[in-house]
Each structure stands twice: as C-alpha cells, then as structure tokens.
C-alpha cells in the first residue's frame, strides 16, 4: 500500500476542484439527447498534440463544427435571448442544454447545477414542455441523481411515448442503478427510426456491464463506424467509447488507436486523455501516462485522475508529488455535497487503497450501495469489508457483484483477493489471473497488489 504523507494542498487546484469537478460517468451525457451533441473541432491554428504550445485548453471556446459558434458563444446567444424575454422557456432550455454540453466537456459540476436550476425555471413557465422534461432527466443523470433522472424521463415519456431521447436516459439511469433487466427492456423499445450510433453505444455499454465483452467491443465499433458516416454525430464521443470499451476488454492496441482518434479531433477530451494514460501506464510508458493525466487534471481535477496520477508518481519514486495529488483528492472529498455524491465511489476506493478502512468508510460504502445497487456498489462494499478483515462478508458482497456477469478488471481483482483471503484459493487464483490478463483494464496499484497475492500461490 502506498503511504500517505500529509502536505498542504495546492490552493489553485483545490479551488478549481471545488467548482469544476467532473461527472463520474463522463461521456454518457452525450447520449442523453435524442442524438449526441455536435462535436467540436480544434481551430486550424492550434495544431499539434495536446499540450503543444498555444493549445486551447477551454474546449468550449473552440469553434463549432461546420460554422457553428463555439459553445461559449452559443451560451451568450441563448443568454441574451433569455434576458430579452425571460418568459421564453424554449431559449432558457436551450441555454441550459448548451451549458450542460460545456459542462460535459469541462467536467464543471457547478455549471451542471446552474443548468439544472434553469431547467427548473423553464418548467415552472411550462410544466409540460417536452424538451424541458427531457433536459431535466439529462441533468439529474449527469449529477448522479439517478432516481430523479428516472422520474423526469418517465414524465417526458408520459407526455410523449415516442420520446426516444427520454427513453435513452431512462435506460441509462436504470443501468446505473443496477436494474439491468429494466434497462434491457427500455433499450429494446427504441423506435426503428432511432437506430444508429446512439442506440448501439448504449447496447455496447449494456453488454460490457453484463460481461459480454466481445459483443461490447463489436457494438462500440459499429457505433463508431455509424457515427463516422454521419457528419453531425459526435465522432469524439464514439471514438472515446470504443477506446474505453476496448481498454476494459484488455485490448490495448484498439484502445490506443481509438483514444488517439478522439484526441486528434478534440485534444482536450478528458475521457480519452485519462483512458490513453491508463493504456500508457499498462504498456510501460509511465512518463507519457503522467503527462496525459496532468493535461486532464489541468482541465478538470477529477478524483480518479488525481489518484491515478499520484499512484504513478508514487510508483516512480516521487512521493512528494504523489502526496500533493492525494491531498487534492482529499480536498475534493472534504467539499462534500455534490462532488461527494458524484464521486462517492471514486473517493471511497481511493480511501480504501490510500488511507485505510474504517467502520465509517464501510457505512458510507453501504449507503452508497443502497442508493446505487449495481456491481460496482457491491464491489466497493466488498472491498471495504476485505480491508477491515471481514473476509466472509466480503465474499458475499463480491459474489453479488460478479452475479451481474461483469468482467470488470477491478471487480475481478478484488474478488480474487477476497477469495484467496477467505480460503477459496482456486477461485482466487482464477479471478486474480483473469484480472491481470486484462492488461490496461487494471490500474497499476491494484495490479501490483493482486500480482503479489497471486504470485505467492
């Protein structure tokens, strides 16, 4: 285990973290319209790899594709209309949706919250405005209020049963709550006319969550190809999703290629920066990984990014730099409220791997599981019980996690450790090795811990 040395947190990063924390389910928000938002492209004069001199770090300032205004300018456009006609709930909804698009790119929780308040205002003016109801569902989801997202999506569907945008959010939220059968049924109800990348991307996610890894990669590839054929689809998102699916399937080459394609189109794409860094770390390029994570953290200091950055620095022998990153994670943690809700599992896993288990942490993990009873929720509780030495109870939770069919590398690794500790040696070796075989899907710290456990058997 990495030891934590207390150091003064860096004020700028902490302030940034307070106001600009990323949604943990980065990228999925793009699916919450009936179609993904328009992609952004880098301006012609900002060539070079991310981090090159002159790089535009505010993705919302980049000119939109095919002559569209930048997101920042679109926000100004809608804001001026709202100022001129405060009762114009259509423009108010568009303002909120455009801000949500920016928040998605910049991982700005505060902006998501502002957008959510504006949607509530718009719906106060017209309580049955369809686009407003759908937007409310989208924002609830982005802020990890999955039950709220379901309620809002249902309201939109009650108003218009053909609203496949709302249907998509409904299924996504059901999936996040571990209601796999319901999500499957919801996705099956998409109209033929809605078929395309947005649907296939969802089916890819569903396949991944249920352990159908090959199907997941195939569907993500299909979604990417479909998106390539339509200039108005967000290529960056689909490239990112393919990369992430391939990474979780252990296919480093495909993951690297796909993240590269995403970053070529949008050098500031957070999910792809972090994903590529994970592949770099797994492929033995820690310096590239650290550089990529630093770029991502400069855009949005997400706990997972900072923790991984800290781990790589620690493993590279730079304990002081690592501690600084860990301190920032703790500063986010201390902020509580929304960031705590959005990042609860990231923060819990961070503490379990970097601090030490306590009964309070376990209680927190159990509360998180109650709110979101999916595979990861069970895994976090299992891992807390394991860290507390309560191996038999850990085994029960671990089995709940695996019952979804998931082949998630971290869940498998945790299961392996728990099985070994509880005397199920064969299962432990099998699951531990399965996790290790997934290459870039497993983070370096967990890999190191599980390798040593399995190696001794």
């Amino acid at each position: 285990m990495t030891t934590i040395r207390r150091a003064a947190p860096r004020p700028i990063l902490i302030i940034a973290a307070a106001i600009a924390v990323a949604a943990g389910s980065y990228g999925w928000a793009v699916l919450h319209g009936q179609r993904p938002a328009a992609p952004l492209v880098k301006p012609a004069d900002s060539g070079g790899f991310p981090g090159a001199a002159g790089e535009q770090t505010d993705p919302a300032a980049l000119a939109g594709v095919d002559g569209r205004l930048s997101l920042n300018d679109q926000i100004t456009f809608w804001a001026e209309r709202v100022k001129r006609t405060p009762a114009d709930f259509i423009s108010l909804t568009q303002l909120a949706l455009t801000e949500a698009s920016k928040a998605r790119l910049t991982a700005d929780l505060g902006l998501y919250q502002l957008a959510q308040r504006q949607i509530d205002q718009a719906l106060a003016l017209d309580s049955r405005y369809g686009a407003g109801l759908r937007a409310r569902a989208q924002l609830r989801f982005a802020l990890h209020d999955f039950a709220g997202a379901i309620t809002a999506a249902q309201a939109a569907l009650d108003r218009d049963p053909r609203d496949d945008g709302a249907r998509g959010i409904l299924g996504d939220a059901q999936l996040e709550l571990g209601r796999i059968a319901e999500a499957t049924a919801t996705y099956a109800a998409f109209a033929p006319a809605s078929q395309g990348p947005a649907v296939d991307a969802r089916l890819a996610h569903l396949a991944l969550v249920t352990g159908h890894v090959d199907s997941a990669v195939q569907l993500a590839q299909q979604a990417y190809q479909e998106a390539l054929a339509n200039p108005e689809d967000d290529i960056v998102f689909y490239a990112y999703q393919l990369g992430e699916t391939a990474r979780q399937a252990g296919n480093a080459a495909l993951a690297r290629r796909s993240f590269g394609a995403a970053l070529a189109a949008r050098p500031t794409d957070l999910g792809s920066l972090v994903g590529l860094a994970k592949v770099d770390a797994s492929d033995g390029h820690p310096d590239s990984a650290i550089a990529g994570l630093r770029r991502a953290a400069a855009i949005a200091p997400q706990p997972e990014t900072l923790a991984l950055l800290g781990d790589l620095l620690e493993l590279g022998g730079d304990g002081t730099a690592a501690t600084a990153e860990y301190q920032t994670v703790r500063a986010i943690e201390a902020l509580g409220s929304t960031a705590g809700t959005v990042y609860d599992r990231q923060l819990l896993l961070f503490e379990l791997d970097h601090g030490g288990a306590t009964d309070a942490l376990l209680a927190h993990a159990q509360a998180a599981l109650a709110a979101r009873p999916d595979a990861t929720g069970h895994d976090v509780v299992a891992w807390a019980l394991y860290r507390l030495g309560r191996f038999e109870e850990a085994l029960v939770e671990s089995r709940f996690a695996l019952a979804t069919g998931t082949r998630d590398a971290r869940i498998l690794a945790h299961a392996g450790a728990i099985e070994l500790a509880s005397g199920h040696v064969d299962d432990g070796i099998r699951d531990g090795r399965a996790a290790l075989a997934l290459g870039p899907a497993l983070d370096p710290l967990t890999r190191s811990e599980i390798s040593s456990l399995v190696a001794g058997r």
């Binding site: 569209r68 114009d88 006319a193």
Partner: protein
C-alpha cells in the same frame, strides 16, 4: 365547446412546430421527422415562391438548416443535394428539376455551388454571391435571416397546458425566430421558364435517399401523426411523391380537420385545397416580398405561391380552428411580421444576423 376546440387548436399548433423535434422545435417544417433530425443541413424549413422585383421574373426559395450557426451548420451539405421541382399546371410529376450541389468550403468558407436543370449545368459560382443563370435569371445560396416569424413559446405553452392556457398566444407576441438565420437557396427565373402556371415543391437528398420534402407550410407537422402514435409516419409522408399525396393522405387530413371541429364538408374542401402538397404558382398573380408586411390582395395570393411576409401561421390558425365554418377559435399568434424588413431586391431575404 370552446375549450374543446381550443384544445384541438392547440394540438394543431403544436404539430405545426414541434413534430418529432428532438431538441429544438423550430419553424413551419423545421426538424419535423426522425430522419431529418441529425441532418440539419438537409432539413427544409420553408419554401417560397413570389413575384420578383422585375415582374417578368419569378423567385423560388428553399430554406434549410434552422438556427444556422447555433444548432445547424452554416454550410450546405457536400454529400447531399437540394432540388427545386416544377411540374406543369395540373400535373404533380416534375418535368423541370433544378438541383443544387455544393463542394466543401475553402479557407474563406465559401462553397462552390453548381445548379443543374434536368442534369445540365446552368449556373456555377460560390455561396454568398449572385450567380448568373444560363438562359436568364440568377442564383444565390448562403446564410440569410430566417424570414419565418412565429410565437413558438406561446404556442407550446398552449399545447402543454392541455389547451387550457392560450395566454401565450393572446398576449403580446414574441417572434422566436427573430435574430436567427437559415441557409437559403434563391433562384430567380424568367416567368417564361416557369410558364403561366406550375406546381413547385422542394426536396433534399442524401445520395439517392430522399431526406425531406416541402410544399405548403407545415402540412407534415399539422396533419401527420398529430397524436404522436407513430413518428415513422412523418418519414413516410416525406417519402411520398406529390402525385401520390391524395391517395395516401386525404383521409388522414380530413379526419384531423374534423377532429379539430370542422364540418365534414369543410374538411373535404380544405383537404382538396391542401393536397397534393405543393405550392401552386400562377405567375401573373404572385405577391411580392418586400418590407415587413404582406401587401396586395390576399384573395389573389392565398394558395398562390408564398411571399416572405405572408403570415401563414395566422392563416393556418384561422383555417384549422374552424374559420371557414365561421367559428375560428384563434386567428393570430400576434406575431405579424418578420423582425427585419425584406429588402425587396435580390436575394430578397434579409442579410444574416
């Protein structure tokens, strides 16, 4: 009774604007079907036909890309095509098809445009410029002010209230499309090229796939799938050729009109006027597009072309809500003119914002 009719009117109005719109509801026919929703550059918003400044010429317009620069691109599709179809008087099979195609924009963002008549190139040039057409006439393609005007929010409010709250339409109107742009193709032709009378409609294609079509304003959104049962019907409507409109859709139109409170006879009359879904052109009696308000003798111009300043929403409200039977519930959205004046000279649509 009034409430019921109002509710029906509201439904009609919604349809006018929202349809299956995924995201942003727009104008008369903006974003009206699932297929067009992600191909904004091929999404037809409105078409117009009116008398040119030189009365010996006629102007045909097709507008696409609602809220160009915001939700839609400011460039025409480079893989699609834009067709202005003309059929002889009494016919609904085009014998003159003007097809515009576009290249990718250069560093100055101008796109090369080529216009063909029945496959023969008759004009070529660049977007944003006036292009001479072989055989007489001129062409413009580029970003302009959206000439459509409508109180969209007031309308939605009526519909979303279950048709109990008309205040959004009866109060001072707010033109949702003020300050917004579209991409427009404007073709001015000698009357002789059109003949004394013809039928005009526009279509867009992606490759050989028909994406959208439009004739009279908002028919798809008003009459097709008004109760949101099957959005695919809207695509089916868009895929129908005008020559097949009556056989395919007249029962549907009459049923919707009767539901909205029109008598059977009136519903049949209106349907006969609306279908096939084309703009009829009688070149000798077309209105002009100038200033901000409709001028001329309305009786001559209704169902003869469509000028930029024509308040089609008021007309549709009046007709759909029983005006021809003498009991119109609503006859105006209180937005009666475009936000900027039309110049009255080529390319007739106002400069973009």
């Amino acid at each position: 009774m009034r409430l019921k009719n109002l509710a029906a009117a509201g439904t009609a109005l919604v349809v006018l604007t929202i349809g299956a719109a995924p995201f942003l509801t727009s104008a008369a026919d903006h974003l009206d079907s699932p297929i067009v929703k992600t191909q904004h550059a091929l999404d037809i918003t409105d078409i117009y036909a009116f008398d040119a400044a030189n009365s010996k010429n006629t102007v045909l317009v097709v507008d696409v890309a609602p809220l160009a620069g915001i939700t839609s691109p400011t460039t025409f599709s480079t893989t699609g095509s834009y067709r202005m179809n003309l059929a002889p008087n009494g016919s609904y099979v085009a014998n003159r098809v003007y097809t515009a195609t576009f290249s990718a924009g250069g560093r100055d963002h101008k796109q090369a445009v080529t216009l063909k008549l029945n496959g023969t190139t008759i004009a070529s040039g660049y977007t944003g410029s006036t292009i001479q057409v072989a055989g007489g006439g001129k062409l413009f393609a580029g970003k302009r002010d959206d000439p459509f005007f409508f109180d969209l929010a007031g309308y939605n409010k009526l519909k979303d209230s279950g048709y109990t709250d008309p205040s959004g339409l009866t109060d001072a109107g707010v033109d949702f499309f003020a300050g917004t742009n579209i991409l427009s193709i404007v073709l001015e032709l000698p009357d002789a090229a059109i003949g004394s009378a013809a039928n005009y409609w526009a279509t867009t294609y992606q490759g050989s796939t028909l994406i959208d079509r439009m004739g009279k304003p908002a028919l798809n959104t008003v009459f097709i799938d008004p109760f949101k049962v099957n959005a695919n019907t809207k695509d089916t409507y868009n895929q129908t050729a005008p020559s097949g409109d009556v056989a395919a859709w007249d029962d549907q139109f009459e049923a919707v009109l009767e539901f909205f409170g029109n008598s059977t006879g009136t519903a049949e009359l209106i349907t006969d006027l609306l279908l096939p879904d084309v703009l009829h052109i009688d070149t000798a009696n077309l209105g002009k597009s100038t200033g901000t308000s409709f001028t001329g003798d309305k009786a001559d111009h209704i169902l003869n072309g469509r000028t930029l300043a024509e308040d089609v929403i008021d007309l549709e409200l009046f007709v759909v809500t029983g005006g021809l039977d003498g009991h119109a519930i609503l006859s105006s959205d209180n937005v009666n003119a475009n936000d900027v004046a039309f110049p009255g000279t080529f390319p007739y649509l106002a400069a973009p914002h």
